[in-house]
């Protein structure tokens, strides 16, 4: 299949970027990243600068790949990362626009690569989970209801790719932060610091320059792990209790 790609090229963080057109011949069995590899090999053979993009596991679990394809983070396929998106979802002769994540807290480093270290600092702001030291506890020593365990696991499925921020018209990181707060806060082990953790992670999120949530729901539609905005409501509750609660 013959494709026209419009790709965001930017030489460096403080350089101006623009969309450039490329033609590429791909097979429909290729993943999107393999198609990008084909393009880069062609560029290298022509002694041109290859397109910089991030990738690691290519199995949809590491959260490294991050392309906005035709205006949608990770492309048109529901619940799929860019690396797991295959070219059979496109048609021969298509023009595909590829852009980097857009948010002030995710500055572009080069081409399609953005700096997502603001997410690391939000995680660091979460602090620790209190556990008793000593021998490893027995399995199932703390009884947890199946539904609770499942919903905590759903939140823990977040791979921290940042598609929620990229999809949000406000550049808000609420879905990411709420997933991290929820996967600990829904379990008894995470209860001890729950409210305080919510507060410090939200504060860090604001410091990093992420926007405010206006409940458009675009994040949960684009999330490759289909994290629900129920988690955002839970974060809002624990944030409120960290401010008005009596344990402060």
């Amino acid at each position: 299949m013959k494709l026209t790609l419009k790709i965001w090229r930017q030489k460096g963080a403080d350089k101006k970027g623009q969309l450039e057109s490329y033609n590429v011949e791909a097979s429909e069995h290729m993943s999107f990243l393999e198609m990008m590899d084909v393009l880069n090999e062609e560029l290298i053979s022509k002694k041109e600068e290859p397109v910089a993009f991030e990738h690691d596991c290519r199995e949809g679990i590491c959260g490294t790949c991050n392309l906005v394809i035709n205006g949608r983070p990770h492309g048109p396929q529901q619940g799929t990362t860019t690396c797991q998106l295959h070219m059979r979802h496109f048609k021969d002769g298509d023009t595909i626009t590829v852009e980097p994540w857009r948010a002030k807290a995710f500055p572009v480093i080069k081409d399609l690569v953005v700096d997502r270290s603001s997410f690391d600092r939000i995680i660091q702001a979460g602090g620790y989970v209190s556990v008793n030291t000593g021998q490893a506890p027995d399995g199932n020593a703390i009884p947890i209801e199946k539904d609770t365990a499942l919903s905590a696991f759903d939140a823990a499925a977040c791979i921290g790719c940042g598609a929620c921020v990229a999809a949000c018209p406000n550049g808000s990181a609420m879905l990411f932060t709420s997933a991290k707060v929820a996967h600990l806060g829904k379990l008894p082990q995470g209860q001890v610091e729950h409210a305080a953790r919510s507060k410090s992670m939200v504060d860090q999120m604001d410091t990093e320059g992420f926007g405010n949530c206006s409940n458009t729901g675009a994040c949960e539609v684009e999330c490759p792990k289909e994290i629900s905005i129920n988690n955002i409501a839970m974060l809002n509750r624990s944030y409120l209790s960290s401010i008005f609660g009596s344990n402060k």
């Binding site: 205006g71 406000n170 808000s172 926007g211 729901g217 539609v221 905005i229 409501a233």
Partner: protein
């Protein structure tokens, strides 16, 4: 945003019930005496100052948040998508500004003229005080097609603003539930429809009757 929004949402319903008296065929007696009561009763007066305050607060907060969010997004995508969120949810600030502009026109035409203007007075048998003939002013205003059009545009903006705002307010307060959130969303859509259509009937009815 959510608390002031919910307060303003509840006001709209009371406002609608009161205004539907404009459709009563009694020469404005019920509406004018109701308007008189609304401007004289100390409790209503206190609430109305609270209302003005909350409208201003909601507008200022909204504009500030919209400005922060705009700069937090920075660069916009060159390829836009409509598939991940509703149009109204992405345009709340624009819709809010439209509603606010409409509100200024609306207050200027009726509230300002009643409070500071020289609307004629009228008295009704069975009501001791002389009342301002706001009813007459409304009847004159809604004979003009462009005023009716402004109202319809304002109400359309209100519909879209509420259709996202109602359910969004609950989510912001952390009230999200497997069973109740779909009900809240349904009630929100129904409420936005009832309020906008309810208000739209008044200018349309008066305009059509005046033809």
């Amino acid at each position: 945003m959510s608390l002031t929004g919910l307060f303003l949402i509840s006001f709209l319903f009371v406002h609608l019930i009161g205004n539907l008296q404009l459709l009563a065929n009694d020469g404005g007696e019920s509406f004018n005496t109701y308007a008189y009561f609304m401007t004289q009763n100390p409790l209503i007066k206190t609430i109305s100052y609270g209302l003005y305050f909350f409208i201003v607060l909601h507008a200022i907060q909204g504009l500030m948040i919209a400005a922060t969010n705009r700069s937090a997004k920075g660069y916009k995508y060159s390829k836009k998508t409509k598939e991940n969120a509703s149009w109204s949810s992405k345009n709340m600030a624009m819709l809010g500004i439209l509603v606010l502009a409409f509100l200024c026109i609306h207050m200027g035409d009726f509230w300002f003229k009643m409070k500071f203007g020289s609307l004629p007075m009228k008295s009704y048998a069975g009501f001791d005080a002389e009342v301002t003939d706001l009813f007459g002013r409304v009847m004159i205003a809604f004979q003009e097609w462009y005023i009716v059009l402004i109202y319809l545009i304002g109400l359309l903006a209100l519909y879209f603003h509420l259709s996202h705002g109602f359910q969004s307010a609950f989510q912001t307060l952390g009230l999200n539930h497997k069973k109740y959130t779909p009900i809240i969303k349904g009630v929100g859509t129904l409420y936005s429809l009832v309020v906008s259509i309810g208000f739209a009937i008044i200018p349309l009815y008066i305009y059509i009757n005046s033809l």
